[in-house]
């Protein structure tokens, strides 16, 4: 047991937590922005995937990592706008449209990679490079934390900046006010002349961009190539973090970070002689327990709202 403790307190473990949490954080913030704008973004997974694919392909062909990253984020942004358009212009159900976009991204990326590279697996045959890692000067000298922080990818830093950014956006800016009003009471927002649709489009675009950044991290930071369906369900974990975090920026931050930590722990415990499938349930069991405990505590503190109203 003490070895587990050693592992958990090591800087390598902390570094792993930061890495693993990066896509969760970004995608979860994407989900949060969309949810607060009143349109559930189930398409996080597809947006990540498209961004990952576009990023690797563009970087590979153009030789510019930056261009690749920007194109990846741009494609995911467009998918966010597309989701908003399907919902707002065509009146499609947001959840179904999101599922449809995920399917589209899965098929579309596979097709793009196959027709460009004649490889059904991914872009590993194309040299596309990674976004730079950043070491703040002097940060290595901080004990434990220093080693964990130094050399983290640019996107990881961005992911951690996303929390204060989204909090600032929501609670300090005019746009954030309008976004929250639109998501909570579209009629009220409309009645004061807020361009509800425009706010929702913008929110979904931002949501897509954040998810896109998460995707770009997967194919241009975590590893340096794209693999078919490489998001592997991360978009849905991010979605869970959105709700687990109570739809609040710092709550979502903690939830996504918690997922990162739990998964890092599962990875570290993976070599123990326990069936691997059972070890890999750790993050989810922990989440479920945390969810129950949190809800129980909140209930005990006596909320006025009945349970059913918290939908």
């Amino acid at each position: 047991m003490s070895s587990v403790l050693d592992v958990v307190l090591s800087s390598a473990f902390l570094a792993a937590v930061l890495r693993i949490a990066t896509p969760y954080l970004l995608a979860a913030f994407g989900g949060l922005v969309a949810e607060r704008a009143g349109i559930s973004n189930i398409a996080l997974e597809g947006q990540m995937l498209s961004a990952a694919c576009t990023g690797a392909l563009v970087a590979g062909y153009s030789g510019s990592v930056a261009l690749g990253a920007v194109s990846g984020v741009a494609v995911a942004t467009l998918l966010g706008v597309l989701l908003a358009a399907l919902r707002l212009e065509l009146g499609a159900d947001a959840i179904i449209a999101g599922i449809g976009l995920n399917l589209l991204a899965s098929g579309g990326t596979a097709y793009a990679v196959y027709s460009l590279l004649d490889d059904k697996g991914g872009t590993s045959g194309l040299k596309s490079g990674s976004l730079p890692s950043i070491t703040l000067p002097g940060v290595e000298n901080v004990p434990v934390l220093g080693d964990a922080l130094s050399g983290q990818n640019l996107v990881t830093w961005l992911a951690f900046l996303a929390a204060p950014f989204v909090a600032w956006l929501f609670y300090r800016t005019r746009f954030g006010f309008h976004l929250r009003a639109v998501g909570e009471m579209p009629d009220a927002a409309e009645s004061v002349g807020i361009a509800v649709r425009r706010v929702q489009y913008t929110g979904l675009a931002l949501s897509g961009a954040l998810a896109g950044l998460a995707g770009v991290f997967l194919s241009m930071g975590y590893v340096s190539f794209f693999v078919r369906d490489m998001t592997a369900g991360r978009g849905f974990i991010a979605l869970a973090a959105v709700f687990l975090g109570g739809l609040r920026p710092w709550g979502v931050f903690l939830a996504a970070l918690g997922f990162g930590a739990a998964e890092a722990l599962a990875v570290q415990l993976g070599t123990l002689d326990v069936p691997p499938q059972l070890v890999s349930t750790i993050p989810y069991v922990m989440t479920l327990v945390a969810l129950a405990l949190y809800a129980w505590r909140r209930k005990r503190r006596g909320r006025a709202v009945p349970a059913a109203a918290s939908l």
Partner: protein, 373 residues
């Protein structure tokens, strides 16, 4: 004044209201078809753009599933599972509970059905029913967890169900690879179920090969009808509907909302459990890893497509399964690759709930009538 006699205007209103309702229904129906056609047209363009022969591809996709009897069987078998899973989420959806838990429930159901059907010797007929009941019970139990967490603690059901899916799928995987794995087999699956527990294949009844389709199809139809009756013809159904419409109103009216929420999860879970039983007793005859494929997720599409109306879920399930089957046949018989098949299915899913067209048409009709008078 107590009762005012009905004025001319009121009579007119009433007539017009009824006419509008009739018209809206007709418009809804024809527009549903029109949206599907529009989606197919976009798929057509996708195929043209990717250098495929769309006419041939569509011919194969749309007629393929009916061409051979075993393909019909494959369609019905797939639709059975898919519809049951669609129904299983439609019920909590009616109570406005966003349950994504069909996956955990179907695997729990499959495990329970298989455990009974493999290990417990039972007389004929009972051997079919008991595993199904066990599956329904296991699914219901798996539904009760997020249901109770939501109802009693207010814990978000989306998170709870997503987490439970992840856990159950992994535990299932462990069991199929470990304790329940058929001994002496290198392939990963359980022992086969006892002969008596198998759901009778439809082939036996119709005398033509119908693949793995079995009387589970009938069970599915009965389940849908029963759920429709439950929702529309029972007090519990009323409570579910009102809880979904406005939980505060329901609570004010004396409905114990937490109970209703739990029931909606439990009933949904039981139905998903039945889907698991269908997979084990009708389709595979044993446990296999990942046996539900992506059906649990696609059940959500089917439920939403049908606006959570149990009878419509059957139609939506048959429709969606037909697309799945047609897409696979298209990939086998034409040069259209799997990726493009997925893209076309995606386009159909994206557009199939678009309501803009029907609404536009309705508005146009309404406006024309104003103009006439």
């Amino acid at each position: 004044m107590t009762t005012t006699p009905m004025t001319a205007i009121e009579t007119e209103d009433r007539r017009q209201y009824r006419a509008t309702r009739r018209r809206d229904f007709a418009v809804d129906l024809s527009m549903a078809l029109a949206t599907i056609l529009a989606a197919l047209a976009i798929g057509f363009l996708v195929m043209l753009a990717t250098g495929n022969d769309p006419v041939r591809a569509y011919e194969v996709m749309l007629t393929g599933p009916l061409e051979r009897s075993f393909r019909v069987g494959r369609w019905l078998e797939d639709a059975t599972t898919l519809t049951l899973l669609g129904l299983s989420v439609a019920i909590p959806f009616r109570a406005r509970q966003i349950s994504l838990g069909a996956e955990s429930q179907v695997y729990a159901g499959a495990l329970a059905a298989a455990t009974v059907a493999i290990f417990v010797p039972l007389p004929p007929v009972v051997a079919v029913i008991v595993p199904m009941a066990a599956a329904a019970a296991a699914g219901a139990g798996m539904g009760l967890v997020p249901g109770a967490m939501k109802a009693r603690l207010g814990a978000n059901e989306i998170v709870a169900t997503l987490m439970l899916n992840a856990i159950v799928v992994r535990v299932y995987d462990y069991l199929v690879n470990g304790p329940l794995k058929a001994s002496g087999s290198s392939a990963v699956h359980s022992e086969s179920i006892q002969q008596d527990s198998a759901l009778t294949p439809l082939s036996d009844w119709f005398g033509v090969p119908l693949g793995r389709a079995n009387i589970g199809f009938g069970v599915m139809l009965l389940t849908a009808a029963a759920l429709w009756l439950l929702i529309n013809r029972t007090p519990l159904g009323y409570r579910i509907r009102m809880t979904g419409a406005n939980p505060d109103f329901a609570a004010y009216g004396g409905i114990r909302v937490p109970r209703v929420i739990e029931w909606s999860f439990v009933i949904g879970g039981a139905v998903a459990g039945l889907a698991g039983a269908h997979l084990v007793q009708g389709v595979y005859g044993r446990l296999e890893p990942g046996l539900a494929g992506s059906l649990a997720f696609e059940g959500i599409v089917v439920a939403l497509l049908a606006r959570n109306n149990p009878l419509v879920v059957v139609i939506a399930g048959l429709f969606y399964s037909y697309l799945r089957a047609g897409g696979d046949i298209m990939e086998q018989q034409t040069d259209v690759g799997t990726e493009i098949v997925v893209v076309i299915q995606a386009v159909i899913v994206l557009l199939v709930t678009a309501q803009a067209l029907p609404n536009l048409l309705k508005r146009r009709i309404a406006r024309r009538q104003v103009g006439v008078r």
